[in-house]
């Protein structure tokens, strides 16, 4: 045990002695690990918010299927769905997009009775009167919107809106450029009276898949003369599959960031295997001449890499954390969350889980080991005189 401890102290001594080499190596590793840790933590943060969106959303979403794409559904279906077994609530919803000046905005129309009293607003109140809307923090900040401001949008200039309230920036990233209004206002704005984008069905626990199946099977009963196109039914199970595939299988983070990481890792590898190599060879030669075994030299080099990785990985994690939490991911977050600009108008979601951080450490250790172990072994196996030459 003492022998290993002594080797560890020698390894630390080497790191301190070769200051420039160690600092450059640590900085290179931080540069490699920082975007990696940042991307993974933002991904986990969005994943968490996305899971809330899935879990707190409806159990079944029903729309029309026009030529294979989602299409508006008639409100006549509301009563049909309400009568089905296991259904607790049925709501229509409108979701559309429009430009607010030059900024793209999401319009959401819901029934006024769905407005919770407990929602916190940054400013103003919930919408109460016809034409009242609640806007996201991003839009409010960009266009200096205040409660009471009236505006119209180019999609339907005859429809006048009044800002009643502004969402709190903590209410998910998707609320930043959102305009929430009553269902009636939204259908007037899009000129789609009697239609909804989708119908939201809430069921008793365990009923959702059965109900989705029933809606699909009973389409003919709802539509006996086959005059309407078919319905598209999405239940929570399918939505969860989107969630899992979107974040787990198809996450492009690995392809994109590994490319960057490996590109940046090249100088680190060069430093480990090339920069200061002459001095390193001499050191190993002296060690061998003074009685060190090859195995001990190798162990010391491995411990040196271990300590370097142990220094770099926590530094990269802390730097990523400081940048994301204190500086709200300024300049960086836009690479991972689209359409937010240099400074995000909401707190950039980031979650630092132990596993990605462990991966960062392992990534650092693999990089340093790959770069140094072979060259150390090669030097340690030649006669000391030759190594010291």
């Amino acid at each position: 045990m003492n022998k290993h401890l002594n080797l560890l102290f020698t390894a630390v001594g080497n790191i301190i002695r070769n200051k420039i080499r160690s600092i450059v190596l640590i900085l290179c590793l931080i540069a490699v690990l920082f975007p990696f840790v940042t991307a993974l933590s933002i991904s986990e943060g969005i994943k968490f918010q996305s899971l809330i969106s899935v879990e707190e959303g409806a159990d079944v979403y029903v729309t029309m299927d026009y030529f294979g794409s989602n299409a508006p559904i008639s409100l006549d279906y509301l009563d049909l769905f309400r009568k089905m077994e296991g259904v607790t609530e049925v709501f229509p919803r409108i979701i559309g997009r429009t430009y607010f000046s030059n900024r793209l905005a999401t319009i959401v129309g819901i029934l006024p009775e769905n407005l919770p009293k407990s929602i916190l607003l940054a400013q103003g109140t919930l919408f109460r009167e016809k034409g009242d809307v609640m806007v996201g923090k991003g839009l409010a900040k960009e266009f200096r919107l205040q409660p009471g401001v009236r505006f119209s949008l180019s999609t339907n200039t005859s429809k006048l809106f009044r800002v009643a309230g502004i969402f709190d920036s903590n209410a998910t990233i998707w609320s930043a450029n959102l305009i929430l209004m009553s269902f009636e206002d939204a259908s007037e704005f899009f000129k789609m009276k009697g239609k909804a984008t989708d119908i939201l069905i809430y069921t008793r626990p365990g009923y959702a898949p059965l109900l989705a199946k029933e809606v699909r099977e009973k389409m003919e009963t709802f539509n006996p003369d086959q005059a309407d196109p078919p319905l598209r039914v999405q239940d929570k199970v399918l939505v969860k599959r989107y969630f899992e595939r979107g974040f787990n299988y198809k996450a492009g983070v690995f392809t994109a960031l590994y490319t960057v990481a490996f590109a940046l890792a090249i100088p680190a590898l060069l430093i480990v295997s090339g920069f200061g190599q002459t001095e390193r060879r001499k050191e190993i030669g002296v060690m061998k001449a003074t009685g060190w075994q090859t195995q001990e030299v190798m162990e010391m080099a491995a411990l040196e890499n271990f300590v370097i990785s142990l220094t770099s990985a926590p530094m990269a994690i802390l730097l990523a954390m400081v940048w994301l939490k204190w500086f709200n991911g300024a300049f960086i977050a836009q690479f991972f969350i689209a359409e937010i600009g240099l400074m995000a108008p909401f707190p950039v979601p980031s979650r630092f889980l132990p596993l990605p951080c462990l991966f960062a450490f392992l990534f650092a250790i693999v990089l340093t080991m790959v770069g140094s172990l072979y060259s150390t072994w090669k030097t340690a196996t030649v006669p000391p005189v030759e190594a010291m030459r």
């Binding site: 968490f48 630092f352 132990p354």
Partner: protein, 107 residues
């Protein structure tokens, strides 16, 4: 063991301890979010947003595949042609249409 080595090892221990503490604090802060505004907001709107994009540029699939599970930009202006929709959110999330069985064979 020299003073410098002792100092470096102490620095390393503090660094690791600080990182673990910061991660634990982060975990704790996310636990509080559960009953926070995000939940109320999502309940109110019936679930909006899933991807790493703040507005539905080009189409809804990356913003929320529930609203539009099909990237219909591949159907226009040249049907079946090049998709004009850039994969803006491919860095940390990416949604693709999930194939559903729409073939019913009748005996």
């Amino acid at each position: 063991m020299s003073q410098k080595i002792r100092f470096y090892l102490l620095f390393l221990l503090i660094l690791i301890g600080l990182t673990i503490l910061a991660m634990a604090w982060d975990q704790h802060s996310w636990k509080r979010v559960q009953s926070d505004q995000m939940v109320i907001f999502q309940r109110m709107v019936g679930g909006v947003g899933m991807g790493a994009i703040s507005v539905p540029i080009w189409n809804f699939i990356n913003f929320d595949p529930r609203i539009q599970p099909v990237d219909d930009s591949i159907t226009w202006p040249i049907p079946g042609g090049y998709s004009y929709s850039p994969d803006r959110t491919a860095t940390v999330s990416y949604f693709q249409e999930i194939p559903a069985n729409q073939l019913f064979l009748e005996k």
